[in-house]
């Protein structure tokens, strides 16, 4: 093995992904440095890093988005490379350019690829021009005066989306012409509010859609491989909560086609490093949705079935090495499921929750990628994801059973989480049967509801016995009275 051209990597991220990156850097014999805001001082990544450099800003998120402070932290740490993680600055082409201009290796694709895929409309047109399937659509700015009639020509039902969007914000489903214009106006106002950009487009809304994505990996020599698909259809409000691989929806033939399409799209974009091509699968056909030019939250399921450390591959590719894997080397083994543990209350419309982690015990025998520690405060400053539980088993049903056991064994007290919901999904027949789509949780609202009657007596008994005044008032009653009490029964 050659030595890498850098010995220290700055992590421009936080939470579980920062801790996950540090683990790989350690395995590679690299030093890890992290730039962190003080609200994260008590998190696993900050305590694990070889060097932790404080940054500040108007808000915690603003400090993690501050190019100048992050690049200064990298210099201070003597970092020759920077890993952006996911979210935050990971898909900001300007940031990638600034890192490269500072003489630091950016662990990710070239800024041109981030730019191409970062604009949904540009990406879609690029993919269509290269002969890959996209969802029929109409783009407002092509000819604003005819937008409504072109939208109608796409065919109902339609999905109205902001061009600058992400995370499901501002998206609306329209089922007939009468509702179209009102939906466009509402989507525009939301798009302006969330993204400061009111441009819209509409696309055909696919019924019973499944979200399937393909992991790809490329190097600077034009080598490109895929690491199979991930099924991410269990979502709440367009946010994934359970991911798995392989997808129960793909036949071997369809799997081969969708994975080859992903490699073809990445090749057309001359893509280097790790990336994910997302597709919508509907009634046996798949359509390009978008390409994420970074590591994904759900990358561990791919690692479990392929045995490949994706972050190590990212580091090697960024260092200019040729991929050590050829397509035939990548052989999937078994089934993996990831559960996202969120600080939120599904029982109350998924509102984010806060609190201090009073007790934290992770289950044994599974992979945990965690961004929380006991004693840490969960604040509303960031995304509510706390940790991920990843299981690997020979078959899908065994993986689901293992995941169900693990999520019930996980103890996190002090901040409400979605653990109870995850356990209910893993015991649900529709999920176990593999016949779900992205509207699964909306169609099954009973899954979000908790039944507080279950085990109620055990909770009340524990609460009573653990509350001193309750015990004290029993103890205060003279024994004679208590005995009389029992005689009366």
């Amino acid at each position: 093995m050659h030595t890498l051209p850098f010995d220290t990597v700055l992590i421009a991220n936080r939470g579980e992904i920062a801790a996950r990156i540090i683990k790989t850097l350690r395995n590679l014999g690299l030093r890890s440095a992290i730039a962190y805001h003080e609200v994260d001082a008590l998190t696993p990544a900050v305590s694990m890093a070889d060097l932790a450099i404080p940054i500040s800003g108007r808000t915690p998120v603003a400090s993690y988005l501050d190019f100048a402070q992050i690049i200064a932290a990298a210099r201070k740490a003597g970092a020759g490379a920077l890993h952006p993680g996911y979210g935050l600055l990971s898909e900001n082409a300007e940031f990638a350019k600034a890192v490269i201009e500072a003489g630091i290796t950016f662990i990710g694709p070239a800024p041109e690829a981030i730019e191409l895929m970062g604009d949904k409309i540009r990406a879609r047109n690029f993919v269509q021009r290269n002969g890959f399937p996209v969802v029929p659509c109409a783009i407002e700015e092509d000819e604003p005066t005819t937008f409504v009639s072109r939208a109608q020509a796409v065919g109902f039902p339609l999905l109205v989306k902001p061009s600058a969007g992400g995370g499901g914000k501002g998206m609306r489903i329209v089922r007939d012409l009468s509702a179209l214009e009102a939906a466009i106006e509402q989507a525009r106002s939301e798009a302006c509010r969330y993204f400061g950009d009111g441009r819209l487009y509409v696309e055909r809304y696919l019924e019973i859609p499944r979200h399937i994505e393909v992991q790809v990996l490329g190097d600077a020599f034009g080598n490109l491989v895929h690491l199979f698909e991930r099924e991410c259809s269990v979502q709440r409000r367009f946010q994934k909560i359970i991911e798995e691989t392989p997808s129960p929806a793909l036949s071997p033939e369809l799997r081969k086609r969708i994975c080859e399409a992903a490699v073809g799209i990445a090749r057309a974009a001359q893509y280097q490093n790790a990336g994910t091509v997302e597709f919508i699968l509907s009634e046996g056909a798949f359509y390009f949705l978008e390409m994420n030019t970074r590591l994904q939250v759900e990358h561990p399921v791919t690692e479990m079935i392929t045995g490949v450390d994706l972050i190590a591959e990212q580091v090697y590719a960024a260092a200019g090495r040729e991929l050590s894997l050829s397509q035939s080397d990548i052989v999937p083994n078994g089934h993996a499921i990831e559960l996202r543990l969120y600080a939120e209350a599904p029982e109350r419309g998924y509102v984010p929750t806060t609190g201090k982690v009073l007790l934290l015990e992770f289950p044994d025998g599974v992979r945990i990628d965690s961004g929380v520690m006991q004693g840490q405060h969960i604040t509303p400053a960031f995304d509510p994801m706390l940790a991920k539980i990843i299981v690997h088993a020979p078959s899908r049903i065994e993986a689901a059973l293992k995941a169900h056991r693990a999520v019930r064994e996980l103890v996190l007290l002090g901040c409400e989480t979605n653990a109870n919901l995850l356990a209910r999904i893993l015991a649900d027949e529709t999920f176990l049967g593999g016949q779900f789509h992205t509207g699964y949780l909306e169609e099954n609202p009973h899954l979000a509801a908790d039944n507080f009657a279950t085990g109620l007596c055990a909770f009340l008994a524990s609460a009573a016995l653990l509350t001193r005044p309750v015990r004290a008032s029993a103890d205060a009653v003279p024994e004679l009275h208590a005995t009389l009490g029992s005689w009366r029964n």
Binding site: A345, E347, R348, T354, G355, K356, L358, L359, E361, V407, R408, E409, V411, L412, L413, G414, E416, T417, A419, N420, A423, D450, F452, T454, G455, L456, C457, A458, F459, L460, A461, S462, A463, A464, L465, L466, T467, P469, V470, R471, S473, A474, D475, V477, E479, A482, G485, S486, N489
Partner: protein
């Protein structure tokens, strides 16, 4: 004497009495005998209930009891009857209003310099999806308000300091 615990906005009244092997749990429509709790550590133990043993993980934060039993997590709130019946003697009542549990300030209804009487509302706070009124522990004058609307606070944090009425 009844005690009350709130779970998911529902009030559960119960009481314990001593029994041969521990306690007897009196619920609205049933009595469970015996119930006992054996501590294993400061955050774990075994609940014995109707002949069954259930491992319990717990954390107590003021009036909030966080429990994990059989894969389910629940938070119960103890409604302390003593808070409603504060001591009569002004001399032993505290000059501070403290947070009975962690939460967020929804609205402040008094201002510094204002005179208040025992039991008067000082602020509205929200915790575990419930709005709770923080009341003045005694007669006095609002000296300092330590939080602002929207602030979050820990259990037992001082929210308002009072001064004795000037003479």
């Amino acid at each position: 004497m009844y005690h009350s615990f709130e779970l998911d906005r529902v009030d559960h009244r119960l009481w314990l009495s001593t029994s041969q092997q521990g306690y007897r749990l009196h619920l609205r429509d049933q009595v469970i005998d015996p119930v006992a709790f054996t501590h294993h550590s400061e955050s774990s133990g075994i609940l014995t209930i109707a002949g069954e043993s259930e491992p319990v993980r717990f954390a107590i934060e003021g009036d909030l009891i966080h429990l994990h039993i059989r894969g389910r997590t629940r938070v119960l709130r103890y409604n302390d009857p003593l808070r409603t019946f504060a001591p009569a003697n002004d001399e032993i009542r505290p000059l501070t209003a403290r947070a009975p549990m962690p939460g967020v300030v929804v609205a402040i209804t008094v201002s510094p310099g204002q005179s208040v009487s025992a039991g008067m509302a000082l602020m509205m706070v929200e915790s575990m999806k419930l709005e709770t009124i923080i009341r003045s522990p005694r007669d006095g004058i609002v000296d300092r308000i330590h939080v602002e609307q929207g602030d979050s606070f820990e259990h037992d944090a001082v929210l308002v300091t009072l001064s004795k009425e000037g003479r």
